[in-house]
């Protein structure tokens, strides 16, 4: 067994991701991984998102720097890919909108002058997928989110910390989940 193990890609809806602003490192080490703790207690170093890429724009001045907006039933994720994410940037440059995409990436946060924290995703990879995959993702993300909401009452460190910091209202997120799932039924 090597000491390194790959970080799990967490499943989080856009709304919850947007409402997250607690970012921290495990330990003082220079190479300690960076995490984002969400209101339901997901400790995120990597996310997996499947949604619809609805907008994309090259906002770079000297070199290409792509911003994409990927929506799920609860809101949208902002995705930034530049020269250090060449594969992802290339996909953003080449693909059409709208398109179903699967994104694997790292959460990143930016604090504005007013002190607001904005969350975005720095993609490791982006691939064009299909509508079925997107529906499967919504269900899986709903399941994972519900598991976390249910675990808010537990002793688990992440749940406790999230509750203390965000004062999380479980109803807020269970409602989000049920609306996201409900949206799947409307399309049939």
């Amino acid at each position: 067994m090597s000491g390194y193990s790959r970080e799990v890609a967490r499943r989080v809806f856009a709304q919850e991701f947007r409402e997250s602003n607690l970012s921290f490192k495990d330990g003082d080490d220079q190479y300690a991984p960076q995490y984002l703790l969400t209101p339901t207690g997901a400790k995120v170093n990597r996310v997996f998102i499947v949604g619809t890429l609805i907008e994309k724009e090259d906002i770079g001045t000297d070199s290409e720097y792509w911003r994409g907006r990927v929506t799920d039933p609860t809101g949208s994720f902002l995705i930034y890919a530049g020269q250090y994410q060449p594969e992802a940037a290339q996909v953003l440059a080449e693909c059409e909108t709208p398109a179903f995409v699967a994104v694997v990436g790292k959460p990143s946060t930016y604090t504005t002058g007013e002190g607001d924290v904005l969350t975005s995703v720095r993609p490791e990879s982006i691939y064009v997928v299909d509508g079925q995959t997107r529906d499967l993702w919504v269900i899986e993300t709903a399941k994972c989110t519900l598991e976390r909401v249910n675990a808010l009452e537990s002793e688990s460190g992440n749940s406790q910390r999230a509750k203390e910091y965000y004062n999380t209202d479980p109803r807020h997120y269970s409602l989000m989940v049920s609306q996201a799932l409900g949206s799947l039924k409307e399309t049939y």
């Binding site: 699967a102 694997v104 519900l146 269970s174 799932l181």
Partner: protein, 309 residues
């Protein structure tokens, strides 16, 4: 308590001694109800009393419990269970602990497990490659893995049969979040079948490689990451790309990388269900299926579950 008495009665019966159940019950009752002795202690004491009375060896009473069920290695899931296992000694490991006589790996058709023969067990030694019936061994959980302990109440019987050692089948369902380097169209060493890196084999140096298809996939279900290896058959099945076509593609582009690129575009980000055997951190895939649709009743259940919070 009646049940406890019954158990003791049955066990003595097997040893050929008939003890009236009322008599057992009376003793148990006195211990448990009058003198507040814990159940297990009371049981031990009552058993000892009758053992002495009938002059039966304690060892015989306890170790003779061949009632330990015969269990397959993949079914070992609980710490502290006593069981019998038919297995082959796959490997003996170096042992540098004086109270341990042997340590190694044993296996049956369903999987493998570490085992420890304690010196105090006074059995063995076992030989590598031979099969045994391990009687009355106890399961111990260590570091999340199960191992089998052969101790002084265990026994060994050599069996004249070659047990085929297999591996347990594991299933995983999740999204493919990455395909690692060394996938797609690769070349293998004609001598040792190792994958070549930059045209050279670690063992045999520069060789004329043989083409093959393989995918090292990273699967992720939101809670766990599983590395999986797809061999040529599965790669051809899931991508629809045959080895010959892949070779032609690469020749066309003057680059093996195009094959990997196409596979990534086709597979990454989608959901699959796979099963196979687990070897260290890899799942060696025997079958893989794309997940296309979800179960509608499952969706309704999930909606209901979200509404009760």
């Amino acid at each position: 308590m009646r049940q406890l008495a019954q158990e003791i009665n049955t066990r003595f019966n097997e040893l050929g001694v008939e003890i009236p159940i009322e008599e057992i019950e009376e003793r148990l009752d006195k211990m448990i109800n009058k003198f507040k002795v814990p159940k297990e202690e009371a049981r031990r004491s009552v058993v000892n009393y009758f053992l002495k009375l009938h002059d039966i060896n304690r060892g015989e009473f306890y170790t003779g419990q061949s009632e330990s069920p015969l269990v397959r290695i993949s079914d070992i899931t609980e710490d502290g269970k006593w069981l019998n296992v038919r297995a082959r000694v796959v490997q003996l490991w170096d042992n540098n602990h004086e109270s341990i006589s042997q340590v190694g790996l044993m296996g049956d058709e369903t999987g493998t497990s570490k085992f420890v023969v304690w010196d105090s067990a006074g059995v063995g030694p076992v030989e590598e490659g031979k099969s045994y019936l391990f009687k009355n061994v106890v399961v111990n959980e260590w570091n999340g893995k199960f191992e089998l302990n052969v101790n002084k109440s265990s026994s060994l019987e050599s069996i004249n049969e070659d047990i085929e050692v297999g591996t347990a089948t594991v299933e995983f369902r999740g999204a493919m979040v990455d395909i690692q380097a060394g996938s797609g169209l690769i070349k293998r060493c004609p001598h040792c079948n190792r994958a070549l890196t930059k045209g050279a084999c670690m063992e045999h140096g520069k060789v004329d490689g043989v083409y093959d298809l393989r995918i090292k996939a990273v699967m992720d279900d939101g809670n766990f990451v599983q590395d999986a290896i797809l061999k040529r058959d599965q790669v051809e099945e899931i991508t629809g790309l045959k080895l010959e076509d892949a070779i032609a593609m690469a020749a066309d582009a003057l680059d093996q990388g195009v094959v990997l690129e196409q596979m990534k575009n086709q597979l990454v980000g989608k959901y699959y269900r796979m099963s196979g055997s687990k070897v260290e951190r890899y799942l060696l895939v025997d079958s893989i299926d794309p997940v296309f649709s979800y179960d509608k009743s499952g969706l309704d259940e999930l909606i209901a579950a979200s509404e009760v919070i």
